[in-house]
């Protein structure tokens, strides 16, 4: 993720969004699934019965897109960054793009109408599906869909009961970055940022968002099995308290929390921070600046994100919308956007086109890597891990907990 700001607020919003859906669905009496969110309709709600497109006809001449900043670039930011113009020339669909800063904003805009496609994060996507704002996508009509990594298909944030609601766009992980010249031995575990009395106290950095609580929960999942954490986004009160305690202990050793790439690269460049969470793209920028840093996926796995392109139910330009879905996961566009944005592409063929090493850098297609990721999901009262005997803490509670952690 290149925009930390964006990423952060988006999570938050996303989270809020997710809360709504799942929780809302639960309130309707739908039983939550008993899986850990790994399969169809894991969030446990009934999707409205909506038809999907049967065939793609003539383009309508325009398509209105809602997207994260950086997902739809037409050269106005940088003339060299443009994967919209080729689409317009090829299909005759004029692209109108509106960007949003948070998933909440995205959901509100979709509900307001007037848009054909939206790039939704894992949290917003379910909410949109549950509300009937987006419709099932007939992936047979999308030529490039066949190329997409299988492990991104029919996951709980982009499908219900095996029915896809969009096409996967790309994904990424929250990694552990450290200064190779200072941190010795090289860390392999999140304990590098969570252990007590770290030799690097005062030089540790962490992501500035309530969602970071999930990182602590993930660590506890491995180090304190007694707590019974099954999913870092499904914490009951005791589990949340344990995570908060861990984070408070970490707080004493934090140099600063980061929320934008510039801040983090600067801190690692000057040595104000030497170890902490990061995104691959940040590590790349730092390495590009000759800062001796390395970013790894620790043994415990990590948190991450995965986005989906969806078609709105109210869309009046569905043909152009499908054409866009097909375009954005085409090898060329997917390579361009994933490189510009700094994440793994959804289409492996993008790797042949992207600059050398791009896919290796982001571990694109590495299933083992992908399996270790817990994609950002909004914590909701109705436990995501399927527990029904307790109430889980929701994102509002996480926000207040995060305030308390920072103190």
């Amino acid at each position: 993720m290149t925009h930390r700001k964006v990423r952060r607020s988006r999570i938050a919003a996303a989270c809020a969004a997710l809360t709504l859906i799942t929780a809302g669905a639960a309130a309707c009496g739908t039983e939550s699934g008993d899986d850990d969110g790994g399969s169809d309709g894991g969030a446990g709600f009934t999707a409205p019965d909506l038809p999907q497109l049967e065939e793609i006809g003539e383009g309508e001449g325009e398509v209105n897109i809602l997207a994260w900043p950086g997902y739809v670039e037409d050269g106005s930011t940088d003339p060299a960054v443009d994967w919209v113009t080729p689409f317009e020339e090829e299909t005759g669909c004029q692209v109108n793009v509106k960007t949003f800063g948070t998933s909440d904003e995205a959901v509100n805009l979709v509900k307001g109408g007037g848009y054909d496609v939206v790039s939704a994060s894992g949290d917003a996507s379910l909410r949109l599906i549950a509300a009937g704002d987006v419709e099932p996508v007939n992936v047979d009509l999308i030529e490039n869909y066949a190329d997409v990594y299988d492990f991104l298909k029919e996951r709980d944030w982009n499908s219900v009961d095996g029915q896809m609601y969009g096409v996967p766009h790309g994904y990424g992980a929250n990694l552990l970055m450290y200064r190779t010249d200072i941190v010795d031995p090289a860390p392999t575990s999140w304990s590098a940022v969570f252990e007590e009395d770290s030799p690097y106290a005062g030089k540790i950095t962490a992501y500035d968002s309530p969602i970071y609580i999930a990182d602590a929960a993930l660590y506890l999942m491995n180090t304190q099995p007694d707590l019974g954490i099954e999913n870092p986004y499904a914490l009951d009160e005791d589990q949340l308290a344990a995570a908060v305690d861990l984070l408070k202990q970490q707080r004493e050793q934090i140099s600063e929390y980061w929320s934008d790439y510039l801040k983090e690269v600067q801190a690692f460049t000057t040595g104000d921070s030497v170890v902490g969470t990061t995104w691959q793209v940040i590590a790349n920028v730092a390495q590009g600046e000759n800062v001796p840093v390395e970013a790894i996926l620790p043994d415990e796995g990590s948190t991450g994100w995965s986005d989906t392109w969806m078609v709105t139910t109210e869309s009046e330009n569905k043909n152009c919308a499908y054409m866009w879905l097909n375009h954005i996961i085409s090898p060329e566009a997917n390579a361009a956007v994933s490189e510009y944005f700094g994440e793994a592409p959804a289409n492996p063929k993008a790797c042949d086109i992207a600059s050398e090493g791009h896919c290796e850098t982001y571990n694109a297609g590495d299933e083992e890597f992908a399996e270790k990721l817990w994609y950002w999901t909004t914590p909701v009262e109705d436990c995501l891990d399927g527990r029904t005997d307790v109430k889980c803490t929701d994102y509002g509670a996480w926000t207040q907990a995060w305030t308390e952690v920072k103190g």
Binding site: R8, S9, I11, A12, A13, C15, A16, T19, L20, A23, G24, A26, A27, T102, D104, D208, S209, P210, R251, I254, S255, E256, Y257, S259, L262, K263, Q266, A267, T270, G271, D272, E381, D394, Y395, G396, W398, T399, Q400, W402, T403, E404, K406, G407
Partner: protein
């Protein structure tokens, strides 16, 4: 009633009558307005009060009503049931008190730092510099206002990093950079708001007649006592006026502290996180009452000094 308004209203107006005969609507309105000062007052005061009353006071009112509502954890929607839960949370949780006092301390410190820096500069500008230099200095003080807030804050971030300029300079004096934290936050905020303090003090000093200073000196007073007895009392309202800016701008800030504040947070961050991230407007509104109450008390105190006329 202002004597001017009353006086003129009583006099005959040949042209006005003529105008009415001519039948121009503006002229008729003008005449009516002229005849009825109250109406004129209403005409003048109506639009701004409507704007501020509706757009602003209404908005504030709506916000604080929201503070007494709650949020439905299922849907995230605002639940319109009156309760004090948000305020209870604020009151009972120690962390919010701590953040409130920290924010208050930062705002006060920023204000003091700005006064200390601004006073000598303003005094030099107003009473020593030649008129030409005076103009140049005013521009020099104003220019930084045009460079973006964020860019300036980031410049300070770079300067205060390890091995940054502050570190280098401090090295001469045997000082370390304060690093990122509360000290850096105070310095950066004080820098950002300094022009808002210099200008009112300068204006206040300019209004102070030179003759008063001379008289004081002629009566044998030294520089020190002159400053204390003549200058300080005169500029006090101006200082208070400037402090309204530095204090309130610091009180609500959440961006600077994120850039240079290390792991710290201020009240603004709490509000921002709750409204922007958690979408919990009722709680954010409750938190927002803290700076509002502080500012209202501050303004009430400032009004006694006559400072509001100087803002």
């Amino acid at each position: 009633m202002n004597s001017a308004a009353e006086g003129t209203a009583a006099r005959p107006h040949l042209l006005a009558r003529f105008g009415r005969a001519a039948g121009g609507l503006p002229r008729r309105v003008s005449t009516v307005l002229h005849r009825h000062p109250r109406l004129r007052l209403g005409f003048l005061l109506g639009p701004p009060m409507l704007w501020l009353g509706v757009a602003y006071l209404g908005a504030l009112g709506a916000l604080f009503i929201t503070a007494f509502w709650g949020q439905n954890p299922f849907t995230g929607d605002v639940v319109r049931e009156w309760n004090l839960d948000n305020f209870r949370t604020l009151w009972e949780s120690e962390v919010y008190r701590k953040i409130a006092f920290r924010t208050l301390g930062i705002a006060a410190l920023v204000t003091v730092v700005d006064i200390v820096i601004a006073f000598p500069v303003a005094l030099y500008m107003a009473k020593i510099a030649s008129p030409r230099l005076q103009r140049i200095l005013v521009i020099a003080v104003l220019t930084p206002l045009w460079a973006s807030y964020l860019v300036k804050a980031y410049a300070w971030r770079i300067m205060m990093s390890e091995g940054g300029i502050v570190d280098d300079l401090g090295g001469f004096l045997g000082l370390d950079t304060p690093g990122y934290g509360l000290a850096a936050t105070v310095i950066t905020l004080a820098y950002l708001w300094l022009p808002f303090m210099i200008l009112p003090i300068y204006a206040g000093l300019e209004r102070l007649p030179d003759s008063m200073l001379e008289a004081s000196m002629d009566l044998g007073a030294k520089t020190g006592p002159t400053l204390r007895r003549i200058v300080l009392p005169t500029v006090f309202p101006a200082v208070v006026a400037g402090s309204i800016f530095t204090f309130s701008l610091s009180l609500g800030d959440y961006i600077t502290v994120r850039i240079v504040g290390g792991a710290n947070q201020m009240l603004g961050n709490v509000v921002y996180d709750n409204v922007g991230a958690a979408n919990n407007l009722p709680f954010a509104a409750a938190v927002a009452t803290i700076p509002v109450v502080i500012m209202l008390v501050y303004l009430a105190a400032a009004r006694r000094t006559g400072a509001l006329e100087n803002v």
